[in-house]
Symmetry: C2
Subunit: 594 residues, 2 copies
């Protein structure tokens, strides 16, 4: 039905007859000539209908937006004055010779030109129309190119695409599982996987050596802007490879993606330990485009009379850190108050500050509400430590180390944006040497997941000092976004049992939940390591989309509903009987449609 | 950790030092020399340990099956007398210089050498070990090659890989949906998709033009040998393409697959109408390797005194068909009785037969219990119609046409096997021109699905004569197996509404279930058509596996359970409260583990 895609017609076709199909993007009758912008997935082309073919012209005059039509015509160069440099096909136009309306369109229920006027709900309800917008179409085409390139790389590197089950057993990876009642075993449930973690480890135990899968994962969480109930992972696992080798392979893959699809050379990714990332950036996924850094000053303020500094400075778990902001001395008291509120969100009780009005004027050049607690020597040492210059402001966080990291890390990002400090377009890095465990509520939690191997210690050493153990884990971070993360896995049963024990998982619970994994570790499990990338987030970053919903064809709302199909919906009562379940508490229909 | 895969070591490496990792497939101490068969996913290689390196030899002597080890050694040619032609690496062996036990193995809970001794349950419980068997490993590697080749073909033909939701709305496609309770909207349920049918149609409405996805689909059915609760489709949809074009593209894809992966040229696929397939083979997925055909003889027996023939022969919905079997006259009465029982399974009330002992001897040469009802002229005309020869048997089915097709179609397949008649290895074809609807229980059912377009008729014509309408649908059949099926879809609202009406779907029900589709058809929907292949079945056929479970990494049992992870399992009561559901009837644990 077509000879070319609309967006592909160009100078080389001038003089040729083409047949195009697509949608009426816009149609205008300008002084007896109809100008039709015809759109398909590859782009737009201008078609011109003159009145000298009256029957065709009449059809052209009757076109309305989003009619699906077939056009036959001859390509011609536009006069220089009418060349449209903003349009891929802007050097040519098609002189229409024939026109068939394939399918008419009623007036649309949402605006195609000013889609900002459409509510998110409207956009999702009429998703098939929203996806016609070239911006949305191009994002999904880009996503398809990403998965295609990823697969090509992994296929050519000996990775096998192996499917793992969607109907599986609940795994305790933090978030809530979606459950699926079993009809055969009434009262029992499958869970949708939060990741194929255990299955990919089992595949390594089977000897598949290199596995990948681009796979849906599921979390029944209260949604945030960048979360969806179902999301997609590029899931990778390897045997007999070290963490260095896994990082090298996957870095090469991502570098290739950026080169091929964005013509960007990411260069070699630097590696940074988790310790350094937390110390310098207050984050385990630092945005390195932001030049601001946290500078530790606890040692300088150990003996001051100011309790806010002195307390944390003398607490083994405390921290006092400064961020200096070029040109920050211009901040008003009101602006500083706003930043103080901002760090409050992250648990900081306040935000001490110090303006450097004149670095050469001693204490007279410094303006700060905390100046009265500090002597000249201490102030000088702080200024020296942060290498302060005239016109800067220094902001201080003092609290438990985790609060300082979180609050000052967030403040750093906000200052970077507010002062437009970001440098460079793409700044990737690896964060490595994570702690194995973190303590909360008096018990240990796995920082990655309970199958992550420690870096060097034996099972006995780990049991003795869980708090200091470093894991053989790695996160790939780009522009402050965690693109993916992974680790070397435990491949010895005694180590796995030790980790479960540290995490407070009883033998009985371990047996019930992971019995098959512990059993599998008995039969010659190879050393293995892997990584999973968040595909949605990766595509979001690469396309510059601001919402994860803009890189998925049919996302859910933030309340996990689909306005298009009206899912979830009421079930057939007979089917519930067959499943052996009953609804104990139902939202009213009115509540749902709100 | 390795320089080569075990299975890849060959003559070209003779003299080189190699480092291999893998599993001990077998280890024998033969007269003071240890022969170790080391296995990885690519194959086996023989490693020899001499006692002249005592420390290494001692380790080698201690090896047991399925230990995971690292071997260093030098490749050498085997003496001619020891070359193993059955082994890819059979011309060489590795003289071991070092040996590290990476991970030991306890004695295995199932037999690796005689896996037939393992029950299906055992194989699934220790799936990670069952998958180590080279036969299983190779099947999954082959499956990965299939998906990779499919993707390469579709990518290079402009198809976009677009993901559709797994948490979606119930669709009435015959089978039962798996339900997923919603926590946000208590009492409401998502359904797991039986196919992405409606979403892929919506993507065409969005203008994506060419879509594909290799995607999990779900059916909560009572399982048969070749069914699984979750299975995988190669799902394809196109806009602006005719059925002929879709068939040409997908045929090219499958032909390419067979060429690339099996070195088989399938040639051009013949097309056969549904009518012809039912008439000649009693099946809409005929196995063309089988030379037997059904021959209609109703017109010849219209006036006989034999009610079994006469009734169906004079019934507009009846049929009388014969199958003649070369060398069939040797069948004993007992064997014929077995076949009579066999067709009884398919609803046939009996099986008339006629042995041709001597074709030249007139009625004297014919042996048949029904001979007494037929005169010489009729017998002659039947013999002439089926072109009978001495030594053949002719078997008759007479009943309603659908019963004859089913029973005689099944009998044809059984006779083909029993008499070893199959010719040729691969016999593909397209079956086309299906009826739009079939009647059962006094109402119409869609033969494909309710979104399938009729071939030529208008909505009004279809409404007037639903029984005679032919759909623009097509099934790809190979060796009697339906590899895939598809159709041109309805792209006009009046046609879709007419089909719903014929199917007895009320306006209200249509609105509730497909309101979004009917709405979407208003806004310039393009003509579109697609197809879906059953990936599991395709891989099964290509690898010669006899069970769908043998081409999936982690299948479920026939009662839809996973003995490996013990899914489904009991849910956390608190989670059920959060979901607003309650279990009304639970299997006892003992029942489940049965």
């Amino acid at each position: 039905m077509r000879s070319h895609y609309c967006g592909d017609v160009n100078q080389s076709h001038v003089g040729q007859e083409v047949t195009l199909v697509g949608w009426v993007n816009r149609s205008r009758d300008l002084g007896g000539v109809v100008f039709l912008d015809l759109r398909d997935r590859e782009g737009l082309v201008q078609v011109v209908y003159d009145p000298d073919l009256p029957e065709v012209f009449d059809v052209a005059s009757s076109l309305r937006s989003e009619f699906c039509v077939q056009v036959k015509g001859v390509v011609r160069a536009r006069p220089d004055s009418q060349v449209n440099a903003h349009m891929r096909t802007g050097e040519i136009e098609v002189l229409g010779k024939a026109l068939t309306i394939i399918n008419a369109s009623e007036p649309l229920p949402l605006s195609m030109d000013n889609f900002q006027n459409n509510s998110e709900e409207q956009r999702l309800k009429y998703r098939y129309l929203d996806l016609r917008r070239p911006e949305m179409t191009q994002r999904l085409i880009f996503r398809s190119k990403v998965t295609s390139a990823v697969r090509r790389y992994l296929d050519s590197n000996g990775f096998l695409d192996i499917e793992t089950p969607i109907l599986t057993k609940a795994t305790p990876e933090g978030a809530r599982d979606y459950l699926v009642p079993s009809r055969t075993y009434k009262g029992h449930f499958f869970a949708l996987p939060q990741s194929p973690q255990l299955f990919k480890q089992l595949l390594m135990m089977s000897g598949f050596d290199r596995y990948y899968q681009i796979v849906k994962c599921f979390r029944d969480e209260d949604l945030r802007a960048d979360r969806q109930p179902e999301f997609t992972q590029i899931d990778i696992e390897t045997s007999f490879m070290t963490s260095e080798q896994v990082m090298a392979k996957t870095e090469e893959m991502v570098r290739g993606l950026f080169q091929e699809l964005l013509d960007v050379d990411l260069g070699e990714f630097p590696k940074m330990t988790w310790d350094e990332a937390m110390r310098r950036f207050g984050s385990d996924k630092p945005d390195l485009r932001n030049p601001l850094e946290l500078v530790d000053v606890a040692d300088l303020v150990k003996d001051v009379e100011f309790a806010v500094f002195k307390g944390p400075a003398n607490d083994a778990e405390g921290r006092v850190a400064a961020i200096k902001v070029p040109n920050g001395a211009t901040l008003s008291r009101k602006q500083i108050d706003e930043y103080t509120k901002y760090v409050g969100i992250y648990g900081a009780k306040g935000l001490a500050w110090m303006k450097v009005n004149d670095i050469d004027a001693g204490l007279d050049g410094i303006q700060s509400p905390v100046l009265k607690f500090l002597n000249e020597e201490i102030v000088s040492s702080i200024l020296a430590r942060v290498e302060a210059k005239t016109g800067e402001i220094i902001l201080f966080g003092a609290d438990k180390a985790n609060v300082v990291a979180e609050a000052m890390g967030a403040l750093r990002l906000k200052l970077g944006q507010d002062f437009e400090l970001l440098q460079g377009e793409w700044k990737p890095l690896w964060v490595v040497d994570f702690p194995m465990f973190e303590k909360a509520d008096g018990r240990w939690y796995a920082v990655h997941h309970p199958f992550t191997a420690p870096s060097t210690v034996t099972a006995e050493e780990l049991a003795a000092n869980p708090g200091t153990a470093v894991s053989d884990a790695y996160d790939m971070v780009l522009n402050g976004v965690e693109l993916g993360g992974g680790s070397v896995r435990i491949h010895k049963q005694d180590m796995q049992a030790t980790v479960f024990k540290i995490l407070g998982i009883s033998d009985e619970e371990a047996q019930e939940k992971f019995g098959f994994l512990l059993e599998a570790l008995r039969y010659g499990t190879p050393p293995h390591a892997g990584l999973a990338f968040g595909l949605d987030r990766m595509v979001m970053l690469m396309t510059g989309a601001t919402s994860i919903r803009d890189v998925m064809a049919f996302p859910k709302t933030t309340t996990a509903a689909c306005p298009l199909t009206d899912a979830p919906s009421l079930a057939n009562p007979q089917q519930l009987v067959e499943l052996g379940i009953d609804v104990t508490k139902a939202e009213k229909a009115a509540e749902k449609s709100e």
